[in-house]
C-alpha cells in the first residue's frame, strides 16, 4: 500500500513536469511542424535564471520569476530566428541538428558562466513534507501538477477564445491563406517558440527546489518530454498532458515494483510498442494524406 502510494505520488509529480515541457514541443509543432530540441536546455535556463536573479541579484521571487520566464521567452525567439528560420525558409531539415547543437552550446555557455558546481534553489514549499499513508509529499510536488493542468487549460482557452489564439490556429491550418488574410505568420511562429520556451522555463523553476541547479540538469528532461510529446500525439494539449502523467506513473510504478535496473528498459520498450500500434500517438489525430 505504501509502495503503491509512494509510486503514485512520484509518478504524478514527475509526470506533470514531463507534460509541461512536452506542451512546449506540442505548441511549436502545431504551429509550424518544427520543434526546439534544445527544450531541455530551456528548462535549465529557467532554473539558472531563477537562481541567479533571486540568490545572486537578491530580487524577490515575485519579480525574479517573471523576469526568468521573459529571459526564456527571449531565448526561444533567438532559437527560432537563428537556428530554425534560416533552414526553414530553404525547406531544409538542418534545424533538427541546429537546435540540438544550440542546446549543447547553451549548456556549455552556462557551465562557463554559472559554474560547474550544482547549486540549490530554496523554496518554502520543500521545507516540511506532509506525511500521508506511510510516505511523504512536499507541497511543491502538489503545486507542479496543479500548475501543469492550469497551463494546459489556459492553452486550450488561448487557442479557442482569443484573437491571437485563433490566428495561431489559422497559421496551423493553412499558412499561405493565413498570410493572405493579413495574419503575420512570422510573428506567430516566433511567438510560439517564445511560449514554448517559457513553459520549459516554468517547469525549470518548479522542479529546481526539488532538484539542484546545474548546467546539464535539463538534458534528460528534454529527452523524456520529447518521448511524452510523441506519445501524446503532438496534436492536443490535453493529450500531451495526459501522456505526461502516464509516462511518469509507468516510470515510477516500474521502478517501485520491478526495481530501478528495469526502469528504462520497460518504459522505452512500452513506448516503442505503443507507437508501433498507434503511430500517431495515444491521442494524436492521424494526419490526412491528400493524394
Amino acid at each position: 500500500m505504501t509502495l503503491l502510494f509512494a509510486a503514485l505520488l512520484t509518478g504524478l509529480g514527475l509526470g506533470a513536469m514531463y507534460g509541461l515541457i512536452a506542451l512546449g514541443f506540442q505548441i511549436t509543432h502545431s504551429v509550424c511542424s518544427r520543434v526546439n530540441f534544445a527544450q531541455g536546455s530551456m528548462v535549465m535556463l529557467g532554473s539558472v535564471l531563477g537562481y541567479v536573479l533571486t540568490q545572486r541579484a537578491g530580487l524577490p521571487v515575485i519579480l525574479a520569476y517573471p523576469l526568468a520566464l521573459l529571459g526564456c521567452a527571449a531565448m526561444g525567439v533567438i532559437v527560432e530566428f537563428c537556428l530554425i528560420r534560416p533552414f526553414a525558409i530553404r525547406g531544409n531539415d538542418g534545424w533538427l541538428m541546429a537546435t540540438v547543437a544550440g542546446g549543447i552550446l547553451l549548456d556549455n555557455a552556462v557551465l562557463f558562466t554559472f559554474g560547474n558546481e550544482p547549486r540549490s534553489l530554496p523554496s518554502p514549499l520543500v521545507e516540511t513534507s506532509w506525511q500521508i499513508l506511510g510516505t511523504g509529499v512536499y507541497p511543491q510536488q502538489v503545486l507542479i501538477p496543479l500548475v501543469a493542468i492550469a497551463v494546459a487549460f489556459a492553452l486550450q482557452m488561448l487557442f479557442r477564445r482569443t484573437r491571437q489564439g485563433r490566428a495561431l490556429l489559422a497559421v496551423v491550418q493553412n499558412p499561405e491563406a493565413a498570410r493572405l488574410m493579413g495574419i503575420n505568420t512570422t510573428v506567430m511562429i516566433s511567438g510560439s517558440f517564445a511560449l514554448s520556451s517559457m513553459l520549459a522555463g516554468a517547469a525549470g523553476l518548479l522542479i529546481a527546489p526539488l532538484f539542484s541547479v546545474h548546467s546539464d540538469m535539463g538534458t534528460l528532461f528534454g529527452i523524456k518530454a520529447f518521448a511524452v510529446a510523441i506519445l501524446g500525439g503532438m496534436t492536443s494539449a490535453w493529450g500531451v498532458m495526459i501522456a505526461g502523467f502516464l509516462y511518469g506513473l509507468v516510470e515510477a510504478l516500474v521502478t517501485t515494483f520491478l526495481g530501478s535496473s528495469y526502469t528504462y528498459i520497460v518504459v522505452f520498450a512500452l513506448l516503442i510498442a505503443v507507437l508501433a500500434i498507434k503511430p500517431s500517438g495515444l491521442f494524436g489525430a492521424a494526419k490526412l494524406r491528400k493524394v
Binding site: A6, L14, L111, G136, S212, M217, S261
Partner: protein, 389 residues
C-alpha cells in the same frame, strides 16, 4: 607588379641560426624532469582537476625549493581528459611519447583511469592515481604492474563503511543505493563481499541515475524490505537527491557513504539532513593553521576559508603522490620507467601530509593508503569535519 615577400637574406640567416641553436642544445643536466597529469580540468568535475593540480604544484614548489630531484627541477605538464576515457588515453599517449614524461598522475574518473592503465603497463611508465577509487585500477592483473595509488580504494572503503554500520549502529540488514555506472558496480561487488564475509544479508541493491530527481521509489523498496541502514555511493548532487527523498519519506536511517558528498556544497543541496550522512575521507583540514593550508592560501589567494577547499582529500592525495614519485626517482637515480617502478617498492621515510610513508608499496599491494588511513566525517555548517565518537 607582384608583391615580393619581405624576407631578407639576413633575416633568413638569423632565423636559421636560431633554429640550429635550439636543435643543437644538448639535453643538459639542468633540463627539468617532466611529470604528466591527465585529469578532468573542465566540465562538471573540473574542481577535482583543480584540487589535484594544486596538490601537485605545492609539492613541486617544496621539492624544487629544496634543489629538485637528481639535481634537476620537476615540471608539470597537464592535459584535460574532460572525464572522457578516449580523450584520457590519447592524452596519456601524447604525454608519454611526445613529452617523454617520467611518470603520469591521474584524475577523478575511474573509467578514464581504467582506459589508461593497460597503455601505461605496456609503455612501462609509472602511473600514480591520486583520486579514482575503482578497485581494478591498481589490481589490474598485469605481470609488471606500473600502476600505483595514493587514494581510497573501493574494496577497502566498502569494508570500512560496512564495519562502521555494524559496530556503530548494530546494522543487520543494510540496503544499497548506488549510482548506475561502473563506480556503483565496483562498490556493489565490494559491499557484497564485505557483507558475505560477515554472513550478513542485504535488504536490496537499488540503482539510480545522475539526474534522477526523485529516488523515493527505490528507497521505499529498501524500507519495505526491512533495511535498517543504508550504503550510499554517488557523487555530490545525486547523493543530495537521496537525502532529499529520505527527508520527504520521513525515514531517519543511518547512512554510511563513500566520499561522493565531499565533492561540493552537499548541505546546501541536501538541506540540513545532509549532516546525517557519514562518509570517508583520506584527509581533512581540521584547522586553518595547518602548514599545507597556509601554503595553499599563499599560492592561491582566492582560498579564504576551509570551506573553499572541499574536498581537501584530492589536494592531499596529489601532494603525497608527487612526493612519493620524487622520492622514487631520486632513489632510482634515473628517469627510466622500470627503474622508478623498482624504486617505488623501496622508498621509506617520506613525510607526506596524510602520514609518513615507510615502504608504502609492495608488488602485492600497490595502494599506499588502506582502511586504517580513512577518517569518517560529516558536514557541519558547510564544512567537512571528522566524526567524534
Amino acid at each position: 607588379m607582384p608583391i615580393q615577400p619581405t624576407f631578407t637574406r639576413r633575416a633568413l640567416m638569423a632565423g636559421a641560426a636560431a633554429l640550429s641553436l635550439l636543435a643543437a642544445a644538448p639535453a643538459s643536466a639542468e633540463e627539468p624532469i617532466k611529470l604528466g597529469l591527465v585529469a578532468a580540468l573542465s566540465g562538471q568535475s573540473a574542481k577535482s582537476g583543480e584540487a589535484i593540480t594544486r596538490g601537485i604544484e605545492l609539492a613541486l614548489d617544496k621539492i624544487n625549493g629544496a634543489g629538485g630531484v637528481l639535481g634537476r627541477s620537476l615540471e608539470l605538464v597537464s592535459r584535460d581528459d574532460e572525464s572522457n576515457p578516449g580523450k584520457g588515453l590519447v592524452a596519456a599517449r601524447e604525454l608519454v611519447q611526445r613529452e617523454e614524461v617520467a611518470a603520469l598522475i591521474g584524475g577523478l574518473d575511474t573509467p578514464v583511469s581504467m582506459a589508461i592503465v593497460p597503455y601505461m603497463n605496456d609503455a612501462k611508465v609509472p602511473f600514480v592515481g591520486p583520486w579514482a577509487a575503482g578497485t581494478p585500477i591498481t589490481m589490474n592483473g598485469a605481470e609488471e604492474n606500473y600502476v600505483f595509488r595514493v587514494s581510497a580504494v573501493d574494496e577497502y572503503v566498502d569494508e570500512a563503511i560496512t564495519e562502521y554500520l555494524v559496530t556503530k549502529y548494530g546494522a543487520e540488514r543494510p540496503g544499497m543505493i548506488l549510482i548506475n555506472n561502473p563506480w556503483g558496480e565496483s562498490n556493489e561487488a565490494g559491499l557484497t563481499k564485505a557483507l558475505a564475509k560477515r554472513g550478513m544479508e542485504h535488504a536490496g541493491i537499488e540503482k539510480f541515475e545522475n539526474n534522477d530527481v526523485d529516488v523515493v521509489p527505490q528507497l521505499t523498496r529498501l524500507k519495505e524490505n526491512g533495511a535498517d541502514s543504508l550504503f550510499l555511493v554517488a557523487n555530490v548532487a545525486p547523493s543530495a537527491q537521496v537525502v532529499k527523498s529520505l527527508d520527504r519519506m520521513g525515514w531517519d536511517v543511518p547512512i554510511a557513504s563513500h566520499w561522493g558528498p565531499a565533492g561540493g556544497r552537499f548541505t546546501e543541496l541536501a538541506g540540513a539532513s545532509g549532516e546525517k550522512v557519514h562518509f570517508i575521507q583520506t584527509f581533512l583540514f581540521t584547522d586553518a593553521a595547518h602548514p599545507l593550508f597556509a601554503a595553499l592560501q599563499e599560492k592561491y589567494p582566492e582560498i579564504e576559508t576551509l570551506a573553499d577547499v572541499t574536498p581537501a582529500t584530492g589536494i592531499a592525495n596529489a601532494y603525497d603522490a608527487t612526493l612519493l614519485l620524487a622520492a622514487a626517482i631520486e632513489k632510482a637515480g634515473s628517469t627510466e620507467g622500470p627503474a622508478i617502478r623498482e624504486a617505488m617498492y623501496q622508498i621509506s621515510g617520506v613525510e607526506g601530509v596524510i602520514k609518513t610513508y615507510d615502504m608504502p608499496f609492495t608488488p602485492e599491494d600497490q595502494d599506499a593508503l588502506g582502511p586504517e588511513d580513512y577518517v569518517f566525517s560529516q558536514f557541519v555548517e558547510g564544512e567537512i569535519v571528522p566524526l567524534m565518537d
